[in-house]
Amino acid sequence: MTSLTLGQQRVYEARPLPSLSMSLVSDLEQLLGADRVLHEPVELYLYSKDASSLVRGQPNCVVFPRTTEEVAEIVKLAEVHSAPVVARGAGTGLTAGASPTEGGIVVSTTSLNTVDIDPENSSAWVGAGVINLDLTLAAAPFGLQFAPDPSSQSACTVGGNVANNSGGPHCLAEGSTTSHILGLEVVLAGGEVMVLGGLAPDTPGLDLKGLIVGSEGTLGVVTRALVRLIPVDPDVRTLLIDFDQVEDACGTVSDIIAAGCVPAALEMMDQRMMEAVENWLQAGLPTNRAAILLVEVVGETAGVEAEAALIQEIALSRHSQAVRVASTEAERQLLWKGRKSAFGAVAQLAPDYYLHDTVVPRTRLVETMRDVNEIADRHGLLLVNVFHAGDGNLHPLIAFDSSDLAIAEKVRLAGDEIVALCIRNGGALSGEHGIGVEKRDLMKMNFNELDLDAQARLKETFDPRATFNPSKVLPQGSLCFDFGGVRKEVPEGAWV
């Protein structure tokens, strides 16, 4: 296994594979059949990392269970062999949360793919491996949709959304994934299967289901989720508003909310990002402006028209140069494509990117963006911005070439400075991507020893043998990531 040293500080060394690996593989083959157990080196390589450029692990094997019972048996076998269990959806995560850094069994959830819509209760039981967009498409004939919409929604799975408490542009108005999970079926330590929560509200006792959401696969393996579905919006207006000053764009965001509106989405893109997007998509973005806001309002026709007019008025009072309302569904889709695939566009600028996900109070956006840009300039790095302005959820992205280790080290340093800046400005480590390995050791920036100890007690209670996704989320010992050492094979990447 490759071991790389970077800047004499951060070293990643994969743990040697457990010696029982072949016995484990044969036990799993007996359980699932040889066709659902991968163990050849080339196959394992494909499951050795997620969409981040951070860490490549090395699993002993990859399995494809079709039922919750099979997952339970896999967990029991893993415990017998002292092998870690790393659940994996589509691998679109950006924090190395699904990288099997300690080896063990990667449990691919892709065959846990049932969807059972209950229109009467506006809900659905969904297999962990169901793709987010497929759920919304399956719900559409019933006039329903799944609100969380990460930009990776055409690839990411519901199980992954649950693991990371994923967000997306539309969580401004609807909340993150946790607000849409009514129940979970989960395999816990010992292979115990539990169904937590349910259709009835306010299950008495502690909300274990809520705790598992966002726990990044470290407490157990979620096999199915009972999700809340919301009605499809009867009408929608999507506005593209451009500004000469980032300050005016941020001020417009505040004014919209102060006026009593919570749009379905409020996204911002800076000039450099617009240029990259426009260069390949030709969505008609105003690349001569400092920033744009992409605003979407939904609801009754009378309401969205009035709301769109109000937002337009606010934007003009904040010196907007132009407001464009998408006049057709195709135009709306094009604007959203520009937003959701923005990071793919960065492939034109450099072969790799490092994407941060931090949050600041919305009122600190302007100064934070200015200082983030200053950090990049000081290190001589190319940084672009596209983010969820309504939530204060920044996504500064540094485009670089990871084959140049000196540059990679600068990227790492700049990244740490950006996180520290956001924390200083009253923010949080992550808004929607999670902690994984990427920010595990930065948790100390945000929490003191007692706070982290409390979180560690939760983990220990659920998973006393540290079977589930070990070495993630909570800092322990030396840092274990290999920054910039793994090149992205596919530059379209770009899931945010």
């Binding site: 909340g175 009605p231 009253g426 979180q455």
Partner: protein, 370 residues
Amino acid sequence: MTVAPGAIPATIRGMEVEVPSGSEAETGLAPSSPEEVETILRFATDQRLKVQVWGGGSHQGYGRLETPDLVLLTNRLDGVEAWEPDDLTLTIGSGTQVARFEEMLSERNQTAVMPEHPGPATIGGVISAGVSSLKRGRLLGTRERLLEVIMVTGDGRRVRAGGRVVKNVSGYDLSRFVVGAFGALGVVVSVCLKLWPVPRAKATVTDPDLDLLHTLSRPLAVLERNGVTQVFLWGIDEEVEASADRIGGQMTPGHTWPTDPEAAFRWSLRVPPALTAAAISKLPASWSYLAIHGVGEIRLGSDDAEGAQELREWSEASAGRLVVVDSPRGSLPDFDPWGALPEGIEIQRRLIGQFDPSRVINPGRLPGGI
């Protein structure tokens, strides 16, 4: 166990106050700071004392609390630490009364989406009991308001979880986890809440044409109180008008929220949303109710407990629950306040053991007598 005279150290004596009416504790303590809460809970853990936590006294009827030695009043842990209207966040002490901060927020057309008739309830009590606003069908429950929590564990450790930003996935979601936990993980001392802007147009439609309700796109609330249905709308003027015109009934501007049924026995019936109407049909004739359609929460009041067992059996057979919210002391000796044990009770027990190893905070309050 009782607290022997003289056993309470001087540092704690200074916090002593009158025991509130309704508490069976012998000693009342009102800490003024998180440090004082730590002192009390360390003392309670050392001495194996049972501590009842008391905010406004509005939710003391839940569960089967073991007779407490001390009652910890949170009323001095009150006040607004930070209100950031532009960030839609509010940071307050856990003893702050809901009515007080909601009134303050309304001056800037904001709300924390709390219960509409809180009485003396505090934010700490609302969170611990896990009770929610009648608007929860559209704006979700109290759990979704929690951004940051600072609490003191049973053994006196001060722990912070979450953060003061509206979106945060940094580590385990311990902040929302305290909702409905009745303090079993710790006494909450302060919280940061996510606020919501209040739109300018509001209307209430009484006795709408029920066959037309489905034409509404996500009304703020559809409530049914003792046979009378009301639809609550808010938003942009044009939207509210168009919605109200469409469903018939009698439209009045503004919102007057119905109150929970008041009676000797109060209950919370929780069923899958689609069974709300069926649940109402199962109620004994003399019971009064307030149902939140689309949610499956039905608040009930009755003069006696007759019919409760049948209702519980029906609800549990329907994936629901009948929970006792309040009852005259000793009136339901053979009726578990929570009903069937929830899944994962052993994990719950172990988790609580990690935060309150001597089980000093509100022992007996939770399902399973935890």
